[in-house]
């Protein structure tokens, strides 16, 4: 069977993971691949741990990534990236947004946010890219474009023409937010 590439997005409900995976799936379809993506709605949207699976290749069967076979772990938050690290295949890559969001037990003082997680990831995974998502989003003109910054960063890891990314963004981002999102994408891609 031809190789299928697997991208696992992980983060916290409300971070725009759904939109990022929609854009990703659209780009991959425009590039001529068979694509499947899956995310779970409902309960998990209330600030809970959220994942989205994106798979592409000549022919994709399962909509969810087989355990331990993610080629790229695309993390929107540090702890959530580490939580899903066991999904990564040996030799896989990590893109991680340098942002910590407190889970309820930490925010209410019952537990501490584990320290040194980014270091734990970089120590295990050779190809780890840390992105200053919020800083770049603010420079793009809107703190809510972090997901687009991250898409820019991951675009370097996929062999897809820039033009297709821009077409997908133009199609999926509302016109009034398009300019700042294109800027955010550019900053992420250059990071």
């Amino acid at each position: 069977m031809a190789k299928v590439t697997n991208i696992l997005l992980a983060g916290v409900g409300g971070q725009g993971i759904l939109l990022a995976s929609e854009v990703l799936a659209e780009v991959l379809m425009l590039a001529g691949y068979d694509v499947k993506k899956n995310d779970v709605h409902g309960m998990s949207q209330r600030g809970g741990s959220v994942t989205s699976h994106v798979r592409f290749g000549e022919k994709v069967y399962s909509p969810i990534i087989p355990e331990g076979e993610a080629d790229i772990l695309f993390g929107f938050e540090v702890l959530e990236t580490y939580r899903y690290l066991p999904f990564l295949r040996a030799g896989g890559k990590v893109v991680v947004n340098d942002l910590e969001i407190m889970p309820p037990s930490v925010a209410t003082g019952l537990e501490r946010y584990p320290s040194g997680i980014t270091e734990k990831i970089t120590a295990q995974v050779d190809e780890t890219k840390i992105v200053q998502g919020l800083t770049l989003a603010v420079s793009a003109g809107n703190a809510r474009t972090v997901n687009t910054v991250l898409l820019g960063a991951i675009s370097n890891m996929l062999d897809i023409e820039l033009d297709l990314w821009l077409r997908a963004l133009e199609k999926m981002v509302p016109t009034k937010f398009l300019a700042e999102n294109l800027k955010a994408f550019e900053l992420g891609r250059a990071s």
């Binding site: 069977m1 799936a25 309960m43 600030g47 809970g48 355990e67 939580r83 925010a107």
Partner: protein, 596 residues
């Protein structure tokens, strides 16, 4: 036609449009909700939210009686509510195609059980198609209408979370034309299910099912993929995709129609293999029927019944080996469960119920999260509407002291769904329990859908609004009081008085969901905490607001800070602070903020 990428739910909606559906009805329920949110985009379909699934199905049957194709959708537990009309609808059959889409939730991503709705197909004698991706979700929905009319029966399309919410590439078709116009046509022998008529119809149902099982043996939706001559797999739905990942060399009989089964096709396929697997999620539904044909298979003796299947779970079930991940954790990680949103009107109500030591019979909605710490104020949650009857039942058996502690808690949409009947019982049979109706004017948990109490329709048009106070009074509740849930003291006082009252009472906590887009005005200036005034007493942490973060290393014993990206300024935290540490960013907390 261009290729598009659609979710299973979007594809079902597209299939209904292409099949010429005139009426689509549903009550929202994850993972089925987005079907109606997409049919509404096709002007040829009259799409609407019903107050519950039983009504939805009955409206669909009405359209069918008029000779128009109709679509009714629901989640698996909604089918339990719609079961009454369902079991008789299969006897009457249809005048025009009627398709019921039921979305199961293996793994309980957002549900209270993981029932396998395929059993309903068998129990209600109703055919069921099961798509394995979005293309099939579209194609099978179209096909289901043709089959419904060909075999004079309502037809199920069953999805699961991984089909409903997965996106894959779809080739769309064009809508059928030339369907007959809707009109009145009397046919009482078929549609009036008095015993004499129903007895006759039962024979028809059994005959049609037999015909359909034979027909299904040479239809393209039940297909054989020839590969290995040693290993065969019988599978359906998303399990097919996992089978292809895990056993790429095996020959496969992929069933598109999971009831009635194409028995002869299965016999012929099975006879050719030494090793035959049935790979299916949840119950051994296909497996038991295959075994009943005298065929030996490997199925639930190794595959799990509980939880959803994944490629990894199927692989380890078949190989008997546990996979080992390359990368592991060397520390325990804090969990990140879902939480009520910052500014949620329910938060203060649960804080008060906990303080009042109420025994809370809960219900289905965002407020079920009142179970989570630190609120920890829910003692039961069974199904839609159960909070009311549960409270009445407790009231029947407890002593006078404990009786007072019982409070049913239900949302506005759930109350209108199936809570109102319980309230009639409470009044009629003299229960003294207290019912809290959390009226946030929307069906929030499933993503903010309109309901008969919200004032708008699915199309976004203004609608009549149910007056909850009047409704409760008309049932006979004499004590109905409405409070502002963002005012902690008012809420506490009213709850306490009504809990102590030796008569049935209703407390309506009225505050719109903070996420309702048309009410953006509720979002106020965020608050901040004066670090010099914060003593680190942790009083404000007791409400579990995601916008309040504990900094353990600040000051001598830690301090709270407000995450201003999340805070919407509801002011509940400020009411808990004894040290006046909270203020509006750039000002002080005024009464307007306090009162939401």
């Amino acid at each position: 036609m261009d290729k598009v990428i659609l979710s299973g739910n979007e594809a079902v909606a597209r299939g209904a449009y292409e099949a010429g559906v005139k009426v689509a009805v549903a009550y929202p329920g994850t993972p089925s909700t987005e079907i109606l949110e997409n049919t509404i985009n096709y002007p040829s379909i009259d799409s609407s939210w019903a107050p519950n699934e039983k009504v939805a199905l009955e409206v669909g049957i009405g359209a069918c009686l008029g000779g128009a194709r109709s679509l009714v959708t629901m989640k698996h537990v909604g089918l339990n509510v719609a079961a009454d009309p369902l079991f008789t609808l299969s006897y009457t059959g249809v005048r025009a195609g009627l398709v019921l889409v039921v979305a199961d939730d293996p793994e309980l991503h957002s549900s209270q059980n993981e029932q396998d709705s395929r059993h309903y197909a068998r129990a209600a004698k109703m055919p069921m198609f099961e798509p394995a991706d979005s293309q099939e979700a579209l194609d099978f929905t179209r096909l289901a209408y043709a089959a419904s009319e060909q075999f004079d029966t309502p037809v199920f399309v069953r999805t699961t979370t991984r089909i409903a919410h997965s996106k894959s590439i779809v080739e769309q078709g064009v809508a059928v034309t030339g369907l007959p116009e809707a009109s009145l046509e009397r046919n009482p022998a078929k549609f009036v299910m008095l015993p004499g008529n129903a007895r006759q119809r039962h024979h028809v149902v059994e005959d049609e099912l037999k015909k359909m099982a034979d027909w299904a043996c040479d239809q393209p939706f039940n297909r054989i993929e020839e590969r290995s001559s040693e290993v065969g797999v019988i599978t359906a739905g998303v399990s097919y995709q996992y089978a292809r990942e895990v056993l790429p060399e095996a020959s496969v009989l992929k069933l598109g129609l999971v009831f009635p089964l194409a028995k002869q096709l299965i016999r012929d396929f099975a006879a050719r293999f030494k090793t035959l697997y049935v790979i299916e999620e949840l119950e051994p539904f296909i497996e038991d029927q295959v075994r009943a044909l005298g065929i030996e298979v490997i199925g639930k003796d190794c595959l799990p019944i509980c939880g959803e299947l994944t490629p990894g779970r199927v692989a380890s079930a078949i190989s008997g080996l546990q996979p080992t991940a390359t990368y592991q954790h060397d520390i325990a990680l804090p969990n990140r469960p879902p939480n009520m949103c910052p500014g949620c009107p329910h938060r203060g109500v649960f804080y008060n119920l906990k303080r009042l030591k109420a025994f809370v019979t809960g219900d289905i909605g965002c407020y079920t999260l009142g179970f989570m710490p630190p609120l920890s104020a829910m003692d039961s949650c069974i199904c839609m509407g159960a909070s009311v009857g549960n409270a009445s039942g407790l009231n029947k058996v407890l002593n006078a002291d404990e009786k007072q502690k019982v409070v049913g808690v239900i949302g506005d949409s759930t109350f209108l769904h199936t809570g109102i009947n319980g309230l009639m019982d409470m009044v009629y049979n003299g229960s003294t329990a207290t019912l809290v109706i959390l009226d946030n004017s929307i069906t929030a948990m499933t993503g903010r859908q309109e309901n008969p109490g919200s004032g708008f329709t699915l199309a976004g048009e203004k609608a009549k609004t149910v007056d909850l106070e009047l409704l409760c009074r008309s049932i006979g509740v004499e004590h109905v009081r409405t409070v502002n849930p963002w005012d902690l003291e008012q809420t506490r006082q009213v709850l306490q008085e009504e809990m102590e009252r030796k008569a049935p009472s209703v407390v309506i906590t009225r505050g719109p969901c903070i996420l309702i887009k048309r009410d953006v005005g509720q979002r106020k200036t965020p608050l901040e905490i004066d670090p010099d005034k914060c003593t680190g007493c942790k009083a404000c942490l007791k409400i579990g607001c995601p916008a309040i973060e504990w900094q353990p290393d600040a000051g001598e014993r830690g301090k709270a800070v407000v995450n201003q990206l999340l805070c919407v300024g509801c002011g509940i935290c400020d009411q808990l602070c004894k040290f006046d540490a909270y203020k509006v960013v750039g000002g002080s907390v005024d009464s307007e903020v306090k009162n939401g």
